[in-house]
Symmetry: C2
Subunit: 193 residues, 2 copies
């Protein structure tokens, strides 16, 4: 396997294992084993477990950036329709394993924000990037008359992102998508003019 | 120290350490050491780390039950005023260490829901108990004319609990109470008639 392929494979397997077990509970050895990469070669690719964690977050954020581009760029739909499509696609993804995994960025926020300043800073950047994407779409919704003109779209986007993370958290203990669907009803349902 | 005192001390220290480091990252030995309890005596009090985790959750839930009793029973305030007082007291508590610890029930939900069915079931019960308390207070608010009569208070209570958990999560990465204050503005601010 080429060097880049091996690195990507480790990041892919790391994402899955971090989602399943969390960061602290995932040993480097078990990641190497699951990726079928020789023991001891980890440090050829990453300077530390924290560096690996950072690159797993970056990969996860890139995947979601691509999803956001796909859905929020869908100009045949209204701005709120695009956001709804995006959340519905994530609900379908979470439903595929009964909401057991949650969101990697949310999971690592609760687990690592107080243990690694490097990871905390990056996680907060990813959240801010998502808020910006929601806010831009909400601004378009406002221009299109879908939400009231006096609404502060930046605050609304912040609230939606945080509430969405809470819904994903609750879906993990409840093992149903009901909290996620309730989020949609209470947010997109509530703003329509 | 009497047997009950030692057990309580272990649960108290366990709560603090789980809040700081999470479940998987907290060794039994370090909890015993921090509680100044002899090594090897853990199993005199708890059948396993999971049993200990369950009892830590129970203790945390009892503390919050007492807080809910205190605030939601405050009949000199309107029902929404009581809920606001409750959330504001939790914000002050979280602010005391710059939102680093979060909520133990939320933290363990993300970390342990997929690793322990015993803990997941108990965490979900605690969430449901909190939703019930919010819903009862929202029903009183409805009777008092503070929120619209057609509103489904149970759904609203579910949404508020989940959104609150998301705000606490975000406060951890952002290291400010801003997500918690935004939660208050967007929830209690939004329902007032």
């Amino acid at each position: 396997m080429a060097r880049g392929d091996t690195k990507n494979r480790l990041l892919e397997v790391g994402t899955r294992i971090f989602l399943e077990r969390g960061y602290n509970h995932s040993g480097i050895e078990s990641i190497l084993q699951a990726a079928d990469v020789p023991k001891g070669s980890f440090y050829n690719y990453f300077s530390s477990k924290e560096d690996f964690g950072l690159q797993v977050i970056n990969r996860f954020a890139s995947c979601f950036e691509a999803e956001l581009d796909r859905f929020l760029g869908e100009e045949t739909l209204s701005p709120l329709g695009r956001l709804k499509g995006y959340f519905e696609s994530v609900i379908a993804l979470l439903e595929s394993n009964r909401c057991r995994n949650g969101c990697l960025v949310g999971n690592l926020s609760l687990e690592m924000a107080d243990q690694s300043e490097l990871l905390r800073t990056r996680l907060e950047e990813v959240f801010e990037g998502w808020v910006k994407r929601y806010a831009d779409c909400l601004e378009a919704a406002q221009l299109a008359g879908e939400i009231p003109a006096e609404m502060n779209v930046r605050s609304l986007a912040e609230f939606w992102l945080n509430s969405w993370q809470g819904a994903v958290l609750r879906a993990k203990t409840a093992r149903t998508t009901q909290p996620l669907r309730l989020f949609l009803d209470m947010t997109l349902g509530a703003v329509s003019v």
